[in-house]
Each structure stands twice: as structure tokens, then as C-alpha cells.
Amino acid sequence: MESNIITINENELTFEPGETILEIAKRNKIDIPTLCHLKNTIPTTACKICAVEVRGENDLVESCATKAKQDMIILTESSKVIQARRKSISKFLASGNHNCAVREFDTADWTSFQLDVLKSDGKEDLCPVWGDCELQNLAYRYQVKTKGMPLNGCKYETERANPFIIRDFSRCILCGRCVKACREIQVNNAIEFGYSGKDMKIIAKQDAALKDSDCVFCGECLQACPVGALVPDKIFRDERFKDTKKVRTTCSFCGVGCQMDLFIQDNKIVKVDGADTDLPPNNASLCVKGRFGYEFVSSRERLTKPLIRKDGNLVEASWDEALNLVAKKFMAVKEESGPDSIGVFTSARITNEDNYIAQKFTRAVLKTNNIDHCARL
């Protein structure tokens, strides 16, 4: 009788029929790296990074696309695996503008390398995702030497015409994660692989800027990109070494209640990501408003002081003055015209706790049931 057990790196693990090696490893916190796989999408096996050794088989197998079989014995970091992984990583590093693997360059080389890089992307700083790049992480993890590696030019200009998203084709490794995110997760079908061979590129519509395509700027691609090919147009990338606090909360736009992580620097939201891929209700997806529509929080137009109308104009007042006036007026109206001459519009925007207090106040203090909110509007 089959008991659905496999062995990964000497750990005996149970699996559900149909589970892939990668899924079992992830579930058991065994790290198998991958650059192209995106959870909940069909594996493409494009990057080969996740290939592992299965005892008894000559060739390595892609763990993202190989279903577990009874009594399989798997090694995820054997010398054969590591050798193959280093080869794949080298190939990616050589494929475009990846000026991050600085270790193996001597001074002369480094300078010319940097100059070439600057020439090609026209920017005087490092890659915007330096320190937050999956390819860079892998290069260090597997000590991939980049010395002597020629810098590959890119014929495609960086696209800066869009709101929110910059597309730097020189750093794209064509892993296809963004296409998966767009077509299989969000199903917006805005981007795809275009051209062939050396000219291959991720395109929107007939190779238009995102803003002129079917793109709806959900940013799922941005979140999926393992490298610096898709980056937010916000300052976050320039200030990535500052202290950053991450706070998980619930989105404040529609009623879906997406879970998201706010990245905070100096009391300001600098980035929003969808929370974990296995956390409902949104499984890490967001829409354009949730991901990018946060500027209102730190807007200079925010109200910061109570205002009272005096001689026809709203002028700043102290809290005591404002609250005393409101209380006095409510009491006077209640006294003169009865409790039902006062009404309260509570809000579908504020918390349960706020709403509870608003209705308690209306009923227990004002003594009316004239309370409602914009559910109907």
C-alpha cells in the first residue's frame, strides 16, 4: 500500500497526490530557489534554477513541474544541482544589465563595467532593486563569478511614460513571471512574450507603453518580478537602506478587504505590497487603488485642526472650543426641537469600533434612531 512518502535531503515527508516536489519542499520550509515559478500558476520550467537531483535518474528534474512519486529520494543541494544552478545563474547575469555582482571585478574592470552600465541606463546610481533582487541573492548564495563576463547591451529603451511602473528591459531576464501574474493570477491579459530569439521582449498590446495598452496597473507584475525590470516610480528605491517598518493591515477602498503590507519610512507610506500568497481573501493580489492610491494619507491637504465657522468663514479652533460648541448646540437643538430633529451619518469608511461608538452616542446620548450611512449610495 502506498503511504505517499518521499525523502527530501534525508527528511521523510508525506505528500498529497498531485503535489509537486517544490510544493512539498515549500510546505516543509525546505528552500528550493526558483526565478520563474509563481505560486498558483502553471509551471513553465523556464529558469531551470529549481532543478533537483532524484536518485536513480541521470538528468536533474525541475521541482516546480515534477509531481512527487512514492519513495522518491531527492537532493536539493547536491554538487550536481549546485553546478547546474551556477550555470543558469551565470547565463542570467550575462543576459542583460546586472551591475550588482561586484565581487569578482578588479578595480580597472569595475570602473569600465560601471561606465558601461551608466551609459546603457543613463542613471548614476545602482540598480534600483540592489539588495532586494532574487537573482543577486542567488549569485551570492552560489558564489557565481562574473569576472570577464561581457556586458550585454539592450536595444530597448527604459519605459518611463507610465504612472506607477517603470519598465527597464535591460534588466529583464525573461523569466515570464510577470506574464503569469497578468494572465493567470489577475487575468488582465495585458502583457505577453513578443518577438523572438535575441529580440525577445515582454510586450503590451503591439509593443506599446503600458499606459496605452490594456494594462490596468494592478501591479501584480511588479510584485512578481524577481529582478529590477519592473520597479515602482516612487522614491522607495532610492531610500531602500533607510529604516523601514512593515505593517500588515486591511485595504480601505472597496469591500473585498484585501490584506496588505504597508512599508513605512519616516512616518510615511513608501510602498504597498499584497500580503502572503496563502492569506485570504486576496492571496497577495491588489488592485491599482490599493497598491498605489495611498498618497492621500500623507497629503498636505489633510485636516489637522478643528475648524469653526465665524463670520461666515471656517477658522481654526482648539478641540475644547470645537467640542464644547458641538455639545452645546446638540443639547440646544434636542431641547428645543426634540431628539428626532438631529441626525447622524456614520460611515462605511471607518472601523467597526468607530461605528459602534457613533450609534451608541446617537441612541444613548442624543436619544434618536436617526443614524444611517452611505450603504445605499
Partner: protein, 528 residues
């Protein structure tokens, strides 16, 4: 929603109506689109050819305001072909005979006359819906914002019960709630007729119980007024004072010219908000408050999942929390209302709200909990009505089609329907502070079919004056494949060209919801 969002992907057949899901609930729409990728059936029934229709097996186009007719039509076909779930009807429902009698008249041909939906298409949907092992209905304001909104919803419930698609995974009747915490605001008793968890204000027992807990007496046993009614009463002079928290009725209410007069007629208006709004500019006192990123608390989403909101940044200036401000007013009115923090408030909520009784902040730290969750050991309720309906047996309502309050005529020949666009939210006070969103959706537009644009002799980008019996606005024309002949769509976000100057304030008699989705207008080239 009777069911969960994740449930949508497990359905066999999804019927979406009156919902522009990809723009108004973008992330939820991904569940629908992914279901289609997995081979599930999708039917979209909507007066606009919304983007989701591109993913559907078929899109059916009813004339605006004819929903009861096509839903009755579906039920007519299902009963006639014997595809109804006799077992479910027998065991779980009552009043089937009355329904059967009413829908008898709604033959596919009769329905085609009213709605414009082709008989053969209606038959196809009826068969698919009834034969599916489980089918989910998703609807939104396109169903509710009518003078017959309540009856529209009851009709969808009839349809689902008729096929036994309720109370199980992948099924249900699922309203998509439009605002982050509209579910919670209702659950918390932010409604004129109920306390928390929908306990009626007319119940002596509930009032007595709450008076003790709240340490007060003589609470009103008369249901109060809905938002829309308060505006009317302000106009008539019976409402003297309004306390408006986080709302902007001067853009969101119907028939704005009338609403403006009503608000101007108040003796005393208090507005509590994070920005100056069209409404706060008319106020006597404006109180600055926190936004979501500055608060600790909870929101309840459209699937009844109670989730945490966590403070990430400090609020600007002297702004205070909403509850704190209200407590400050209460105290000055001689009522002691003080709390250490919002967690303490939630503890009180749990004691007076049976459906939240078992929920604590600790328990919802991870994934949230679906109410009802009556006790500390209860896991929550992802799917409603699994073994019984709230009232026991599900009641079929026999409902006849009623036309909208205002239909086109010679003077006002077009139907106007309003809604939102992807890039803005409600009255735009928040989204219009983000440049990128303004870049993607800079201004109001008048969505029109190419046929109608041809008739007027104008093209995309031309300024037009749009007027109804109640008001006039000017905006640019936008020819779109979403629009059908005779029906115009205008988003209501933009105060400068506020669509609600045109809308009809006529209400559904039960839900008091205005008929935003149908009123009569005319379009003319803008006078320079």
C-alpha cells in the same frame, strides 16, 4: 455574501449581474476570471457591456430597470422544463406555488418584449443555471439602486432557492459590498432600525438590555430615518442638525441641487473627516480625524470576514480618532463614555452583538473570522443557510416587474446610469490625491454608443451639456463599446461635473435606496 470569495472559484456556473466587477471589485473579479480559465461557465447580465463580459460565455443585455422580468423569465423556463430542485423546495422553502403562479406569465417572448433579451439566450442561461451542480450569483448596485431594488434582490434569492444553489460551497446569493466597511457599519447598527447584529430598535427586550449595559434610559423605540430621508426632512425643516462622519453627501447623494438646499437649510452642521469636502465646506464645525493607516481596529469585508486594521503611521497635526471625538462630545453632553483604546471598544461590541460574540482581536490576528461567530470556541461561519435559513424555511416571494420611476420621453430621450471607474473611489476625496490615478482618469466623461454619438453628430472629446429635470452638467463625450444605444453612463466621482445633479432621488420604499441606475436625460452640444 452568503458564501466566501474563495468559493467563487469552486462554482460550476457564475451569474454576474449589475456588477462592473473588474472596476469596482478588481481583486474579487480575478476569482471569477480564474474560474473561467478553469473551464467554469460565466454569464454576465448587465445593461453595459462591462469588461467582465469579455471573459463570459455569454453577455445578455437587459434594458435598464427590467431585472425582475428576466429573473422571472429564468424561473419560468426552469419550472416549465422541470429543472427546479424539487427536493430543496420541498424541504427548505415555502410559498413555491405563489411564485410558480406569478412567473407563469413571464414567457421568454414576453420577457424579450420587456427586457430586449433574446428568448433563446434566456433559455440557455436558465438551463445552464439549473443544470449546474452548483451556481453562484454575484450582484452589486446595478441590482439594488432601483425603486424596485429590494424586489430585485428577492428575485435573485428566489432564483437561487429554486435551484437549490444556497447553503453549499460554490453557490449562494452574493452581494458585493462597495465600501471597505459597509458590512461592518451595518453590523454595528449604523442603521436607523436596528442595533448591532440587526437587533430591532422596536424590541423592548433588546432596548432594556442595552439601556442597562450602556447605563442610559428612555432610548427611542421608533425606527429613525435613512440618509436619503434625513436629507428630505432637512429640506422640510424637521431635521435641524446633522452630524456627518466620513461622508460626502454633496457629491454622493441623488439630486444634488435639492440636497444642497436641504443642507443649507440646517441650523447646525458638523462634519468629521480627513479632508475638506464639498460637504464640510458648508459645515459650522469641522473635526479632523484619522484615516485607516493611523488606526487600530477592525473592518468587516463583503464576505463577513472580520479583519484587523493596524496603525502604521501617526496622524497629522491635532487630528483625533473618530471614536475619541464622539466620546468627547458625549462627555460634554453629560454622558460618560470613555475607553482606554479601540480594543476595549471591541470587547464591548462582542458583549452586545451576538454574531460577534466569540470574536476577539487575538482570534482574528491571522486570517480573520466570518460572522456569525457566537462563542469563543465557534470557528465562524463561511457559508450561511447550510441547514436552515434565518427565519427557518426560505420564503419565495411572488414579485411582478415594475418599471423605473422615470423613463425616457421626447424631452429627455436617453437613460442615464451612474457608477464608478477603476481609478477612483466614490467622491474622489482620497484617490484624487494620487497623481498617477488622476493621470489615468483625469476627469468626468459621458460614455455613449457610437450609434448615439452619430445621431448627435459628435465625437469622443466633444464637450456636451447633459440635463435632466433636476439639473445640468457639462463633460466630454467618450464613445465606448461598453455603451448600448439609448443608455448613457456617467461616473459620479467628479464634483466638477457631478452626475448626481442629474439623478432621481426617488427611493425604493423598503430599502430607501435611490434609483441611481435609471433616469431620463438629454444631451446637447455644449453651449460655449
Amino acid at each position: 455574501m452568503t458564501n466566501t470569495i474563495a468559493d467563487i472559484e469552486t462554482s460550476e456556473m457564475i451569474l454576474v449581474t449589475g456588477s462592473n466587477t473588474t472596476e469596482n471589485h478588481p481583486v474579487l473579479s480575478t476569482f471569477v476570471k480564474r474560474a473561467v480559465l478553469k473551464g467554469k461557465k460565466l454569464y454576465v447580465i448587465d445593461p453595459r457591456k462591462v469588461k467582465l463580459a469579455d471573459h463570459a460565455d455569454r453577455w445578455l443585455r437587459p434594458a435598464p430597470g427590467t431585472d425582475i422580468a428576466w429573473i422571472n423569465g429564468l424561473m419560468h423556463i426552469i419550472i416549465k422544463e422541470g429543472l427546479h430542485n424539487k427536493d430543496f423546495i420541498e424541504k427548505r422553502t415555502e410559498n413555491f406555488e405563489a411564485l410558480k403562479k406569478t412567473v407563469e406569465a413571464y414567457t421568454p417572448e414576453y420577457v424579450e418584449n420587456i427586457t430586449g433579451i433574446k428568448a433563446k439566450d434566456l433559455i440557455e442561461v436558465a438551463r445552464e443555471f439549473a443544470k449546474a451542480s452548483v451556481a453562484s450569483i454575484l450582484y452589486c448596485m446595478g441590482i439594488t439602486q432601483h425603486t424596485c431594488g429590494t424586489n430585485n434582490v428577492k428575485s435573485l434569492a428566489n432564483l437561487s432557492m429554486l435551484c437549490g444553489h444556497l447553503g453549499k460551497p460554490g453557490g449562494g446569493v452574493n452581494p458585493l459590498r462597495g465600501q471597505n466597511n459597509v458590512q461592518g457599519a451595518c453590523d454595528m447598527g449604523g442603521l436607523p432600525n436596528v442595533f448591532t447584529a440587526y437587533q430591532p430598535v422596536t424590541s423592548d427586550d433588546t432596548r432594556n438590555k442595552l439601556e442597562k449595559i450602556w447605563n442610559t434610559e428612555d432610548m427611542s423605540k421608533t425606527p429613525g430615518l435613512a440618509v436619503t430621508e434625513m436629507i428630505q426632512k432637512a429640506y422640510e425643516g424637521d431635521i435641524k442638525s446633522l452630524f456627518v462622519i466620513g461622508e460626502n453627501p454633496m457629491v454622493s447623494d441623488p439630486d444634488l441641487n435639492h440636497a444642497r438646499k436641504a443642507i443649507a437649510n440646517l441650523d447646525f452642521l458638523v462634519v468629521q473627516d480627513i479632508f475638506q469636502t464639498e460637504t464640510s465646506r458648508m459645515a459650522d464645525v469641522v473635526l479632523p480625524t484619522f484615516c485607516f493607516a493611523e488606526k487600530d481596529g477592525t473592518f468587516t469585508n463583503t464576505e463577513r470576514r472580520v479583519q484587523r486594521v493596524r496603525k502604521a503611521v501617526d496622524a497629522p497635526g491635532e487630528a483625533r480618532q473618530d471614536w475619541e471625538i464622539i466620546c468627547g462630545i458625549a462627555k460634554r453632553m453629560g454622558y460618560d463614555m470613555s475607553y482606554e483604546n479601540s480594543r476595549e471598544i471591541f470587547k464591548e461590541i462582542a458583549t452586545v452583538t451576538p454574531s460577534y460574540g466569540g470574536i476577539t482581536w487575538e482570534r482574528i490576528e491571522g486570517k480573520g473570522i466570518f460572522w456569525p461567530c457566537p462563542s469563543k470556541t465557534h470557528e465562524g461561519t463561511p457559508i450561511l443557510h447550510t441547514t436552515r435559513f434565518t427565519r427557518g424555511k426560505g420564503l419565495f416571494h411572488a414579485i411582478e416587474h415594475t418599471p423605473p420611476d422615470e423613463l425616457p420621453d421626447e424631452d429627455y430621450p436617453y437613460i442615464l446610469t451612474t457608477g464608478r471607474v477603476l481609478y477612483h473611489y466614490h467622491t474622489g476625496t482620497m484617490t484624487m490625491k494620487t497623481n498617477g490615478l488622476n493621470m489615468l482618469s483625469p476627469e468626468c466623461f459621458v460614455e455613449i454608443s457610437s450609434t448615439d454619438a452619430g445621431k448627435i453628430g459628435l465625437d469622443t472629446g466633444s464637450m456636451v451639456d447633459i440635463s435632466s429635470r433636476r439639473g445640468k452638467i457639462s463633460a466630454k463625450l467618450k464613445i465606448s463599446s461598453k455603451a448600448m444605444e439609448g443608455t448613457i453612463f456617467i461616473p459620479f466621482h467628479f464634483a466638477k461635473a457631478a452626475a448626481n445633479k442629474l439623478t432621481n432621488a426617488k427611493l425604493d420604499p423598503i430599502a430607501k435606496i435611490p434609483e441611481y441606475k435609471v433616469c431620463a436625460i438629454k444631451i446637447e452640444p455644449a453651449k460655449v
